[in-house]
Amino acid sequence: MDEEDAFERLKNLPPRGHHALLGIYNVDHGPDWAELACPFAPGFLMDADAGLVSSGPIISLVDAAAGSAIIARTRQWRPMATLDLHIDYLRPARAGHSLHARAHCHHITRKVAFTRCDVHDGDPQAPIATATASFFFTDES
């Protein structure tokens, strides 16, 4: 393992902040993609009686996966900010199921990275959401 590699560094960082609250962990990755997941928690519910899951954790997981996919592609540790994010909710997430988000970074310019993301709750063939997000590199290079 290359000690200097930014993606390896990212993968091995202990969870902190909101990643730690949601329990986000790495599942798999490739040259331009990353899959992250988080286990279901009762705090994700909108309505405990109806078993209705909030879409908020899905957005946060997409944001995290998209950022990871960019680092998987660039292999650089560049500070970046989310510019925009669009999410389509295809069907409700099921209570008790882990959320998985697989993001691809499909294009990069000098200052901007573009990503797409699919989210499922156990069956990749039955996605619960799809999203696109773009990010701006805030460094000066």
Partner: protein, 123 residues
């Protein structure tokens, strides 16, 4: 009321009262909401905007949560680790679909840190 949902409670969100027709939601800064060091996590800001839209529709309709269809977010400024506020506006309430937008700000309402647009399906 959105503030009674387990998810809003996990984020520490509370209502600071009506302003016009819709509630203003407030989310205090917390270490568990941090993204990159010193900044609020983008997904958390987006979630606050989404909850503001859901709250505004529920207030207008007086019935259970509408189903989210889709939502777009623009992130305008980094969110500092201070209190954040959000308020939604119902742009159009149709028979089946509601179009809403929301803004999120911190110290100065005229300098929003993020905006969102959402479609929701009514049952």
């Amino acid at each position: 009321m959105i503030v009674r949902t387990p998810y809003a409670q996990m984020l520490g969100i509370r209502s600071v009262g009506l302003d016009g027709d819709t509630d203003v939601l407030m989310m205090p800064a917390a270490a568990s909401l941090e993204g990159r060091s010193g900044f609020l996590y983008g997904g958390v800001i987006a979630s606050l905007l989404e909850l503001a839209c859901l709250e505004a529709v529920a207030q207008d309709r007086g019935e259970p949560w509408p189903k989210p269809i889709n939502m777009s977010f623009d992130f305008l400024r980094g969110g500092k680790m201070i209190d954040s506020y959000a308020q939604a506006r119902l742009v159009r309430v149709g028979r089946r679909v509601v179009n809403a937008d929301a803004i999120c700000w911190q110290a100065d309402r005229d300098k929003p840190i993020a905006t969102g647009r959402m479609h929701l399906l009514l049952d």
